[in-house]
């Protein structure tokens, strides 16, 4: 329902935005020539069209539109799938969806196999000639097995009856199937049972139930009942073996010779043993293949084709829904369950995704006992203890208190300082955010900040000073091309499994980018500006602060934007390493438990966070360097 409304809203939004765009083109007068960046300004309506298009594709390809407009279609398609599934083995025998009869294909293949074996035996360098004679004899005999199976005169009476019976059952089913009276009503007890079971059944896409399997509509029941009948027919057919007396005689002969030969082999005649086994395997393969005379199954094939036509017709508008609203796949019945086969499987529906996202956001649920983003109350003392280094207490003159004879410890000034720096004092509490999203955010932020703090001064220094350039250049250039993940195997050994290692990886990413951009910015400053400052009597520090730094800011900020993108890219991999929290951790675990909705949520969250960072930086760029591109 909700999805339906959204779908219409999106369509209206797109139409509205397009109309607005047309109107704008007609009314707006602009003197900007081609190439003027002003021409790219504005255009909110195009943002609406773009995001609507994205959402619409998501709704369509995840089959969410099908779910909201035709909620019953999945259940009906599941019943159709049951029929398809029950016919699969039988259809597979005939050139309905294949090019050849299965018997034809097998005979062709095995004839080639026999021929190859004969050639191989003849040319075998090690086999003894008396063995070769036996093998060739057996292979020649195997050749005669096939005609004994395909000769229509040898087909046994009981098999002919079975085939006819089964064919008749299919024909009757074909006749009955389109009628309104099909399926015949169940008796009272079974009917109540069916209705009871139906009541317990949950809808399509409900937690734990991908596609409900029990038929809910009259049409579904029709297909469901037909599938049961067809499954029975298929089972009976495949239990039947075309082992006529003639065939049995030949194979018996082959088996006796082969077994006798096998018994006479001693332990080290492995080669001969493997040959005789291969020949027996070949025979066994033919034994289990359902090979029948070429025309024996013609009527059955026709019956199946007819039924297929009728059931196709009976599907009616369901076929249209399947084709239009289930792009790239359909509902598949396989074993006890029906499942979505196609993009519906791996592309979760927006409605499910947001529902699960909403669940995950609840602090009491979260993922693996940790909420996505929430807050906890933390004492200021802990923060002070974390920031102040413990050795401050050691610097205070005097000694730490020693316990007295009456078994008490009297604190002195030094121990009180220690209490402060380790955070062991009472203080008010403030809310501190925590959770997967916050942790990831903080890691990226820390890595980026460290990169900027160390990278920018070093970069500017390298741009201005010959020593710095020469000294640091080889170091930076050597490590810069190394992808940050190449450090990953070392991180756990060197930095342990806590945040240090992950932040280090991100720092490595941002550091080199910041150096390069700051250096390029510093060395790209216009000489005339520096000369002008000089002639006005500016000091070195003033030149650096007032001329060089502002001039390299555009480069630096672009560098920050690039670094953010790279940091997010590296973060996921870093959190795969030894995960306890973080978006990357969530994604990795979700993959192991096949929770595709959660995977899409993490991708979505990362996209949004990346966008947030980027928008922030864009705002900073607009604020701090409004002159960019106008110089």
């Amino acid at each position: 329902m909700f999805t339906g409304v959204i779908t219409f809203l999106i369509i209206f939004a797109v139409i509205g935005a397009l109309l607005y765009g047309r109107k704008l083109v007609r009314t707006e007068k602009t003197d900007a020539v081609f190439g003027n960046p002003d021409r790219a300004k504005g255009g909110v309506h195009w943002i609406i069209v773009g995001s609507s298009f994205l959402l619409l594709s998501w709704l369509y390809f995840s089959w969410d539109i099908a779910k909201s407009f035709y909620p019953k279609s999945a259940n009906e398609l599941c019943q159709v799938g049951k029929v398809t599934d029950s016919l699969l083995s039988l259809k597979y025998l005939f050139p309905i969806e294949e090019r050849q009869h299965k018997s034809t294909a097998i005979i062709q293949r095995e004839n080639i196999n026999i021929k190859d074996k004969i050639i191989e035996v003849n040319n075998h360098p090690v086999l003894k000639s008396e063995d070769k004679i036996i093998f060739l004899d057996l292979l020649e005999k195997t050749k005669f097995v096939l005609p004994s199976l395909t000769n229509p005169n040898l087909l046994e009476e009981k098999n002919i009856t079975t085939i006819n019976n089964l064919t008749n059952r299919i024909i009757i089913l074909t006749k009955e199937f389109p009628k309104n009276t099909y399926p015949p009503p169940l008796n009272q007890e079974e009917e109540t049972k069916r209705i009871e079971a139906l009541k317990k059944q949950q809808g399509w896409g409900t937690t734990g139930e991908e596609v409900p399997t029990l038929p809910e509509s009259k049409k579904g029941l029709k297909f469901h009942t037909a599938a049961i009948e067809l499954n029975e027919i298929s089972d009976i057919f495949f239990e039947m073996r075309n082992h006529n007396p003639q065939y049995l005689k030949i194979t018996e002969e082959i088996k006796t010779i082969a077994n006798k030969y096998k018994d006479n082999l001693n332990d080290n005649q492995d080669l001969e043993l493997s040959w005789i086994k291969d020949i027996l395997k070949l025979n066994q393969r033919i034994e289990y293949a359902s090979i029948f005379p070429p025309k024996a199954l013609n009527q059955m094939e026709q019956a199946i084709r007819d039924f297929d036509k009728v059931q196709n017709k009976e599907q009616g508008n369901l076929k249209f829904i399947d084709a239009v609203f289930f792009p790239g796949g359909t509902i598949l019945s396989s074993g006890p369950t029906c499942s979505e086969d196609g993009p519906g499987r791996w592309l979760p529906k927006p409605s499910d995704t947001f529902r699960i996202f909403g669940d995950l956001l609840k602090p009491s649920v979260g993922f693996k006992y940790v909420p996505m983003i929430w807050y906890e109350m933390m004492g200021v003392n802990q923060i002070v203890g974390f920031i102040l280094p413990d050795w401050i207490a050691d610097l205070v003159p005097g000694k730490y208190p020693v316990h007295s004879e009456d078994g008490t410890v009297k604190p002195n000034f030094k121990s009180k300082v220690l209490n402060v720096v380790t955070g062991e004092f009472e203080a008010f509490k403030i809310p501190i955010p925590y959770g997967h999203i916050w942790d990831s955010f903080l890691r990226v932020f820390m890595g980026l900040m460290l990169g900027i703090i160390f990278g920018v001064p070093l970069g500017i220094f390298m741009g201005l000073n010959r020593f710095a350039k020469g000294f640091f250049d080889p170091l930076v250039e050597l490590y810069r091309p190394v992808p940050p993940l190449a450090w990953a195997p070392l991180v756990i050994t060197v930095f342990g499994i806590d945040n240090v290692g992950k932040v280090f990886l991100l720092f490595m990413v941002s550091f080199s980018i910041m150096i390069i951009s700051a250096r390029a910015g510093a060395s790209g400053t216009q000489l005339s500006k520096i000369h002008a400052a000089h002639s006005l009597g500016a000091s070195k520090w003033q030149i650096l602060r007032e001329v060089i730094f502002p001039n390299s800011l555009p480069e630096i900020l672009t560098g920050v934007r690039v670094a953010i993108g790279m940091c997010w890219g590296t973060l996921v991999a870093a959190e795969f390493l030894a995960g306890t929290t973080g978006i990357g951790f969530v994604e990795n675990i979700a993959r192991k438990y096949m929770q595709y909705e959660v995977i899409w949520i993490t991708i979505f969250v990362m996209g949004m966070l990346g966008l947030l960072f980027d928008v922030t930086i864009r705002k900073i760029i607009d604020k701090t360097i409004p002159w960019r591109g106008k110089g």
Partner: protein
């Protein structure tokens, strides 16, 4: 514009060709397996016995985890997974993936998958509840995850109160040696040996098996392949079980197996000696019955790894079959 349209059509054409190849009836059988996980049928694999018996070529692909095997089966690149762990199989069927268990391929005791607790923590099974509030490394979603939860149940500690760090066995062993985690639950001969440098087993092999903790690897097949090529599944299991019998009779060629498993002969022999390869008779009698070992495990594990979106199945007998056992 024309160029764009023709490029699009070209892409469509290539795509449809691709799918038609993927759906073509068994011109090739694609099997998944593990390296460093020796099994007798690897001899047949190297000698090409499978291809000969199927009458079509066989493509073997090695994987790092059973979960990846499931992913490949779902994308249609693998037909049969040999020795997939029961945990990834359960995760797959809980999330309604169309695959079926056809055979119990390997049983392994806690020599192969276990929990090692760091010596420095002074924790043993007597005071295991001290692990609560500490960090433990677990390879989540694998058999090690199952062993972790079962071990904690036996020693009476609450896993929900520990900080679980998801780590692959190699990293997990290093983290234990470095003292980053108090305990690590891991698999693999080399990783466990490394972890034991700084720790000891939480439960001995004997204690684990007394408490019913054991590893089970299974053979799983996509339902599509089962439907289309039931004979080949049967043949696969026949050859595998024949190889197991050959191994039990002491006639396996360890040089070939070791080379294929990328291990040396000595550790291959050791590893295989610690494995169990249940015969078909044993399986039908003890494993697949209503109260059979396998079914009990499936129920326990199914509930253990159930999530809100992928709850446990009511009846796991629908995703297993003995129909193809020789």
């Amino acid at each position: 514009m024309k160029k764009i349209i023709s490029a699009l059509f070209g892409m469509l054409l290539v795509f449809s060709l691709n799918t038609s190849v993927a759906n073509a009836a068994a011109k090739e059988v694609r099997i998944a397996f593990f390296l460093e996980w020796a099994s007798p049928n690897q001899e047949d694999k190297v000698k090409g016995a499978f291809a000969k018996a199927f009458g079509v070529p066989v493509k073997w692909t090695n994987f790092a985890t059973g979960g990846e095997m499931t992913e490949a089966m779902m994308s249609g690149d693998i037909d049969i997974s040999y020795s997939q762990g029961l945990t990834p199989f359960v995760n797959a069927v809980n999330s309604k993936k169309p695959i079926t268990l056809v055979d119990v391929s390997i049983l392994y005791g806690m020599k192969g998958t276990t929990c090692v607790v760091a010596n420095s923590t002074g924790i043993s099974k007597a005071n295991a509840s001290q692990l609560e509030g500490k960090k433990v490394a677990v390879a989540l979603g694998t058999m090690a995850d199952y062993v972790f939860k079962e071990t904690m149940r036996v020693v009476g500690a609450n896993p929900a109160k520990m900080t679980v760090v998801d780590m692959v066995p190699e990293d997990s062993a290093v983290a234990l040696v470095n003292g980053d985690v108090a305990m690590s639950c891991l698999f693999g001969k080399k990783s466990i040996a490394k972890a034991l440098e700084a720790g000891k087993l939480m439960l001995s092999v004997q204690e684990a098996s007394d408490n019913g903790i054991a590893g089970i690897d299974v053979t799983s097949v996509t339902n599509k392949f089962l439907k289309e090529n039931p004979g080949m599944v049967k043949t696969f299991l026949e050859i595998t079980h024949a190889a197991n019998e050959r191994y039990k009779a002491g006639k396996s060629d360890f040089n070939v197996i070791a080379k294929d498993a990328t291990m040396d002969v000595k550790s291959t022999k050791e590893q295989m000696a610690s494995f169990g390869f249940p015969s078909t008779k044993q399986q039908k009698k003890e494993y697949f019955g209503r109260k059979g070992i396998l079914m009990t495990y499936l129920d326990v594990m199914g509930n253990m790894f159930a999530t809100a979106e992928n709850p446990a199945l009511k009846d796991y007998s629908k995703v297993v079959t003995t129909k193809y056992l020789p």
